[in-house]
Amino acid sequence: MHSPHIAKPTTVSVIMFKVLAALVPGLILSVFFNGIGVLAQLALATATALLAEAAMLKLRGVPVRFFLRDGSAVLTAWLLALTMPSLGAWWLIVVATLFAIVIAKQLYGGLGNNPFNPAMAGFAAVIVAFPAQMAQWASPGVPLNALQQLAYIFTHQLPSSGAPDAVAPATSLGLLKTRMLLDGYDVSQFFATPLYGHVAGFGGVWIALAYLAGGLFLWRQRLIPWQTPVAMLVGAASVALPLWQYDPVHFANPLFHLTASATMLAAFFIVTDPVTAPTTSRGRLIFGFLVGVLLYVIRVFGGMPDAVAFAVLIMNIAVPFIDHTIKPPVFGAKRKGGPA
């Protein structure tokens, strides 16, 4: 009945599942470095997300199976699982996922209508509500075996033989911050600690590279624009570089910030979420850049070492304004310097 009668086969589900596929390398390395706990978190988040999404779709009276298949809930779950602490209590990720799906996504009208990135909203909610429980990472010094990790996630019990520091308080960024604040370390001393050497530094860089690879794949597939990730990395570097040059003792070098795994995950999988980002190229550049700047500022000067969520959420607020302000000229409209 209606033209056009043909359509590109790239549907929303196809996009979502390709994005999930692009996350897999990072996921594997994350499991490798952070332990099996990551997989447990992933399973918990996915199950919760699907159930919550189905229930909400049913409540809203829209076709459940059709919308469940779009894969967006699973993607939210995965992003949460990859940003939440690997040894966090089981209910923590369940709460975060519920918040993400029910409140940040479905109550706003579901896919496409949510102003805030659901995963980041869920993350922010739990980090504000349960800051202590959010510091539960597998410590590289005293590795727990798979069973022990699962036991810890579900029962919060450490094996009797385990040392008390089997659970590390935070990611590399958090560590850097605490060490500098509490122990008076400077940046170089911190980098010399074995803690950094294994989990957050070395491993983190590998995970970050895996995310980068996934992101490049998505870009090659034309599923994400280049503007947002590049602008975000440039934005973060543009603050980090001058500060580091000015005072390398107290400010980590920009590469440290860029290769923190959360940074890369954010650049290629979070700020690229189309729903909560601007739609124009120029808008995306502005949005990405400011997320990068905020990310650094909050990380270094603010109270939250895991600043991605807040940087993204703050900029989500600005998206309607950016979209409203930036209107590219239409065909034939005069541009400065260009042909009429």
Partner: protein, 722 residues
């Protein structure tokens, strides 16, 4: 090699052209009956010049061009006219349209063919008229009368469009391969008429055979064949012009104003056939493809039923319909018995496998794919949102009308949103709303004017009464006792009665305004007529001014002003007459007994005449509305058409009003002599004139806008000439 430009957006599509390019252009068997809708061009439908029962020869004119924005229609074969009646029409609306049905006699007998051998030396206008009478229109899809696009001006670049970017369609490709010489001959004729500095023939680089054929044919000419990158929609006129010249023609701008003009290869081919061979447009190349056994191009006579062509190509039994046009812009035919028209470039057998139904739409995820694909550089997701929430103002603000409905956005949308459908919906809603708004604006200003007049009448009456009573006091000797009684007693009565009458009148007006929309629309129509009249006057003034040296622009505005003033004066006079008539009609009015009967008569006459004119105008409007329905995509021409008809009626009405005014004026002096009301009426009349002038100015502005819109609409149509 000239520099090529790119246009923003555009998409790569599976071409699916090879299916139909393997065979040469075929000739399907002569159909038994041909059904030719009269509306085969943008603008006024052709006027039949044969009657049922007439025998016609192949190439004989069966309908004449109706005005400038029109083109003639010819018998595609010899036979008998068996019917002139509404028939199903190849249009998305599926509405019926007056058509001439010819029963073929099988002899296919040509009438003597008369070309235009002297085109080299003839006046361009003559050649243009000849082309109009040969039924030459844009064959790329716009059906815009070619004669109008040939207006001779000094042109920079003449673009010949052989891009043919839509999948499956290969009719232009085959035409260029097989008949390049005639195309080039056609270009020569167009070049003679338009005197372009350069001629560029743009062909997508996926048609190497056509490019080779055209290059060979252009050997000894200055025309340049340019291979342009294959990207949909490079065959859209504006996009092709951009690719070839770098010029972006803004919405609403005429191509020639930017120094370019664009013709489809099929169009220039038919120019050649008409001028050199005396063959009017009676057939066209149609691609038969999709779910058919023998996809190929055919030269099909206009009016050949779709069923016969599809049967010839072997429509698959598993088909689920036939698409007229390509897969991107075509539409499913609701009735396969319709005859092909001058714009039918492709018939696609549809099957669920080839063209599966669109999966259910998801919400927009703001991915921006549509914006990346949009050749008009729009933000389709925003337009979609505005259309969906019926925020049409915003949609317009964000250039909805720049959308060329190419379908690229819908094609790429991962959420499978039927975006173009939303834009079509929004556009038609806006058109409808604009019509309504114009109508209600006029109605409102009229209503306000009436209230004002009623108010003023009250004041006048009070003044009159006051003067009378002073007069009566100052000169008691002239008044009889009875006279005094009749003066003093009724004075209070008069006042209240007048007020009551005024109120009643106002109420009645309100009631009619509210309860009978017919009245309102009538008023609106009248207003439209006035506007049209003024526009005509303004146009005339502009033309006259243009005729004079262009160094004197003030004269144009002077003329227009004069015309406007005249119109305002006439209207004021008419209103005065009507008012006088109305006031004399009231028994309470003191002037009543002394007004001569002829005033009443005249007023009545004027009213009758006005009513007649109104009825005529209504008829015109109805006709125009019909045209509208028939070709929803061509509001511009309807507007033109409408305006013309309305202008004529308006002139009639003006004459009637003038006469009434004159008569009333004749009748007025005796009334003035005897009625003290006359002096008071003087300033009121002035007021009237002022009011009318303001109104006229407003209407003029509206008319100007309408004219602009019409131009723009026309321009949009031109775009389709791809």
């Amino acid at each position: 090699m000239s520099k090529l430009y790119t246009f923003h957006g555009g998409i790569e599509l599976p071409e699916n052209k090879q299916q139909s390019t393997g065979r040469p252009i075929g000739t399907p068997p002569l159909p038994a009956r041909l059904c030719l809708p009269l509306s085969q061009n943008l603008g006024n439908p052709a006027k039949p010049c044969v009657a049922v029962g007439d025998r016609v020869l192949k190439g004989q004119r069966i309908a004449e061009a109706d005005g400038t924005v029109s083109a003639a229609l010819h018998a595609p074969t010899s036979g008998t006219v068996v019917e002139i009646a509404p028939r199903a029409f190849a249009h998305p609306s599926g509405l019926a349209e007056t058509a001439i049905v010819i029963e073929a006699d099988g002899r296919d007998e040509w009438q003597p063919r008369q070309g235009f051998p002297l085109w080299q030396s003839a006046e361009p206008a003559e050649v243009r008229r000849f082309l109009r009478d040969m039924g030459v229109v844009g064959l790329g899809g716009s059906m815009f009368p070619t004669s109008l696009k040939l207006a001779s001006e000094t042109l920079d670049t003449l673009v010949i469009n052989g891009a043919e970017c839509e999948p499956y369609i290969s009719c232009d490709d085959l035409l260029m391969r097989e008949r390049a010489a005639d195309i080039v001959a056609g270009i020569a004729i167009v070049t003679r008429l338009m005197q372009p500095k350069q001629v560029l023939i743009g062909i997508e680089d996926n048609k190497s055979e056509a490019i080779a054929a055209m290059r060979a044919a252009c050997m000894n000419t200055p025309y340049r064949v340019v291979a342009v990158p294959t990207k949909y929609p490079s065959g859209s006129a504006k996009q092709l012009i951009r690719v070839l010249t770098g010029i972006e023609i803004p919405h609403g701008m005429r191509y020639t104003d930017m120094g370019v003009q664009c013709f489809n290869v099929g169009t220039v081919y038919s120019v050649c056939r008409a001028v050199e061979h005396g063959e009017p447009v009676i057939s066209r190349i149609v691609t038969l493809s999709g779910a058919v056994a023998r996809p190929q191009n055919v030269e099909a006579l206009l009016g050949t039923p779709v069923t016969e062509l599809m049967a010839w190509a072997g429509l698959s039994p598993r088909n689920d319909g036939v698409i007229l046009g390509g897969p991107m812009t075509g539409f499913r035919l609701s009735d396969l018995s319709v005859g092909i028209t001058k714009s039918s470039n492709c018939l696609l057998g549809s099957s669920p496998k080839l063209f599966p139904p669109r999966p259910p739409a998801m919400p927009c995820i703001r991915c921006g794919e549509c914006a990346d694909a949009c050749p008009a550089k729009l933000q389709p997701m925003d337009l979609f949102w505005f259309a969906k929430t019926k925020d049409f103002g915003k949609a317009q603000e964000r250039n909805l009308f720049d959308c060329i409905e190419c379908g690229a956005c819908s094609y790429v949308c991962p959420s499978q949103l039927p975006l173009v459908d939303y834009y079509r919906f929004a556009k038609s809603e806006i058109w409808a709303a604009e019509r309504d708004k114009k109508a209600s604006d006029r109605a409102r200003s009229r209503h306000e004017f009436r209230l004002f007049r009623i108010e003023r009448e009250k004041i006048e009456k009070a003044q009159r009464l006051a003067e009378r009573s002073t007069a009566a006091k100052a000169a008691p000797q002239t008044a009889t006792t009875a006279g005094t009684n009749s003066h003093l007693t009724p004075s209070a009565e008069d006042k209240s009665a007048a007020i009551k009458a005024a109120m009643e009148r106002a109420a009645a007006l309100k009631a009619t305004g509210k309860e009978s929309p017919v009245m309102q629309s009538e008023e609106a129509k009248q207003a439209a007529i006035q506007a049209a009249m003024e526009r005509a006057a303004a146009r005339k003034a502009a033309r006259e001014a243009a005729g004079e040296t262009p160094l004197q622009p003030p004269s144009a505005s002077d003329e227009a002003k004069k015309a406007a003033i005249q119109a305002a004066m006439e209207r004021a006079a008419a209103q005065r007459a009507a008012q006088a008539a109305a006031s004399v009609g009231l028994p309470e009015t003191p002037a009543a007994p002394i007004v001569p009967n002829n005033v009443l008569d005249d007023a009545k006459k004027a009213a009758i005449q006005a009513a007649m004119a109104r009825a005529a105008a209504k008829k015109a409007e109805r006709e125009a509305a019909e045209v509208n329905q028939r070709s929803g995509a061509a509001p511009a021409t309807n507007a033109l058409d409408d305006a013309k008809k309305a202008a004529i009626k308006a002139a009639m009405e003006r004459a009637a009003a003038k006469k009434a005014a004159l008569d009333t004026a004749d009748a007025a002096p005796p009334a003035t002599d005897t009625s003290p009301a006359a002096p008071a009426a003087q300033p009121a009349a002035m007021d009237d004139a002022k009011r009318a002038a303001i109104k006229a100015a407003m209407e003029r502005a509206a008319a100007r806008k309408a004219a602009r819109d019409a131009e723009q609409g026309r321009d949009t149509e031109q775009d389709k000439d791809s």
